[in-house]
Symmetry: C2
Amino acid sequence: MRQSHFFCKTLKTNPKEGDAISHKLLLRGNFISQLASGVYSFLPLGLRAHRNIEKIIREEIEKIGGQEVLLPSLQPKEIWLKTKRWDEMDPPLFRVKDRHSKEFALGPTHEEVITGLVKLAIQSYKDLPVALYQIQTKFRNEMRFYGGLMRAREFIMKDLYSFHADKDDLEKFFNKAIGAYEAIFNRCGLKAIKSEASGGIFTKENTYEFQILSEMGEDRILFCENCCWASNLEVAEVKDGGKCPKCEKGKLEKRNSIELGHIFRLGSKYSETIGLYFKDKEGNEKPVIMGCYGIGIGRLLATVVEINNDEKGIVWPKELAPFPIHLIQIGEGQDVKKVAETVYSSLMEFGFESLYDDRQDKTAGEKFAEADLIGMPCRIVVSERTIEKDCVEIKPRDEVKAELVRIDYLQQFFNSKLKVQNSKLQP
Amino acid sequence: MRQSHFFCKTLKTNPKEGDAISHKLLLRGNFISQLASGVYSFLPLGLRAHRNIEKIIREEIEKIGGQEVLLPSLQPKEIWLKTKRWDEMDPPLFRVKDRHSKEFALGPTHEEVITGLVKLAIQSYKDLPVALYQIQTKFRNEMRFYGGLMRAREFIMKDLYSFHADKDDLEKFFNKAIGAYEAIFNRCGLKAIKSEASGGIFTKENTYEFQILSEMGEDRILFCENCCWASNLEVAEVKDGGKCPKCEKGKLEKRNSIELGHIFRLGSKYSETIGLYFKDKEGNEKPVIMGCYGIGIGRLLATVVEINNDEKGIVWPKELAPFPIHLIQIGEGQDVKKVAETVYSSLMEFGFESLYDDRQDKTAGEKFAEADLIGMPCRIVVSERTIEKDCVEIKPRDEVKAELVRIDYLQQFFNSKLKVQNSKLQP
């Protein structure tokens, strides 16, 4: 993508808005734009990072057997009355009326809809288990929004729902889902802590949250540095400064954290309310046992930026970067331009779509500052100085030292240093 | 994908619901499920077809320079008041209030939002042209819905907006967009007619619709069979039965049609209202000239089914089929099972993700009927009869005759008959 044509207008300094560094950097780097409080547009750079997270999530969720569906936002009042959540939901539902005065909720979550949908397809134990997920826009009528994408009122969520004949089968899948979540957060460059949590309005059974330690976080967890056991302060039966109930060695500390994912054993709460039953091997009718598993993708993206930045800007983990390579042409001589164009085409042939700074009206300083701000993992510079030696200069975003690489050795360089996978640089 | 695990429960006969054959077939084949009038869930089969259309649209729109963004559904009342569309929009807006009593529209289209967004980025003629598009959920508070996905209240649309320094530049892009639209509809297996149309609430300037002739369609066009000139009856300055104004030979006929796309020269209507100005080469401030270009993806999907079906079910065009191949195992002998599994793995290695009917509790008749109903382009059967000859039986969905192909010749068969492109069969 030629930067001369790319829709991205960065700011030279951090904006006043933004209560988190990730919020400031995402605004300043023109990844997102605010339309209203807690309501954001994704610009090309931001959408590319978002899509990369979606791709990771799809891969990991499909590995454990999740099948993708897409459910509506407009959800009839009746199904929310059935589960009593029309009035109890917290934050309260966004409600809307149609021209026939019928009321709808804008879906903040999809237990009601998916349970009704699966009810149409499940008769017997032979039809179970089933795991369905979607990557879809949620609406939550929050009183307070913070941190840009950290808590928005409209955001894209991955929600997975699983359906089982009994608790043992749920337990098996629950553990697979924990594995998938760990893989997702790892691939996003984050170390998530599995923390005991409360089910809130969803369920009274124990649930887990995946938390990232961060001063920016609004959650409070008790955390054991020794064994990484953690519990949300809301449900913890132990105290700050007390001994870890798991390893019995570590001291528990109260820490701020960001909740990235939440997984629930729903049991038969929704299946009994909505009437999702199946016939077991003996022909007895039983309620289906359910689990549900959410990840807010915008919050995950913001958290990645919150954790991965330096004084110059964002440092994208390789799998999430909007472009794997930022190619920068310095100087306007015909020779430099010609070589830069050749390198740009070659990278494309090697399977890398680079962001190519071909702009004539920017100084070297401006180009470097912007490259550091938007944070692609690998910077390649073509200048008079490098082409004299038939070289380009390559610098990873998270290293200080640059390296001269011969242009005719570029392909071998990438082959040896990096594996090409799905057009993304992999370590 | 093994059908024994695939979430898809088809019906043996057409459902009573559905006022179009496409609606009945999409419900019966378990591609979609109705949640409320005009509100549908996409099940795995339907979502796969939808995603294939999205992929085609992205490819063709990016070829003409469109860059993808994602804009919110929650749109503040103020921006709709500015363009006077808060009250004038037809169908009326879905409106929603937040906890601070602020009003929002659920976006039925995004001229207001994108014009405001682009305003933040455009100062000079050097920043133009720009073309931004999204694939995003729209909400339209229709009085009447019909044909399932044909006119829904919540649906996914591709909306593209272009921004230019003058009318000539808009005209250039407008023609490119017409080309992209033709390419999109061709790849979806449809012959679209470019028809003169009214701009409705969007603009008073001439606009074009892309129409498909179909008795199911709610639009009425005057159509010349001789030169394919067409005009929406609403704006036609000629009469049914009259002479074609273009070729001056053909007789005009009134025909029903389905509107698949609509492209508008917006001119400076929105830029002037919202204040999107730029400085030209002489330093004069001028309003940006805009165009907008929509395709309702659900309606396109339904139209494809409306046009491509027979008495047995859907006949998917190759690029849109949820799976390129439906592999069917007939008989439960160990030999048949073993060969079918090998063929399944081989197809995967050749780059085809097939739907594999490995179910033990279905008769051959049931399997064939379901395969015809859901309509994958290529059926491969493994049975006692075929494995005796070390063969499989291959039948295209739109042909009557099947062909025996030796298993060790399968790869050559696909290489010679078909090009593999993006894991989809191409003719």
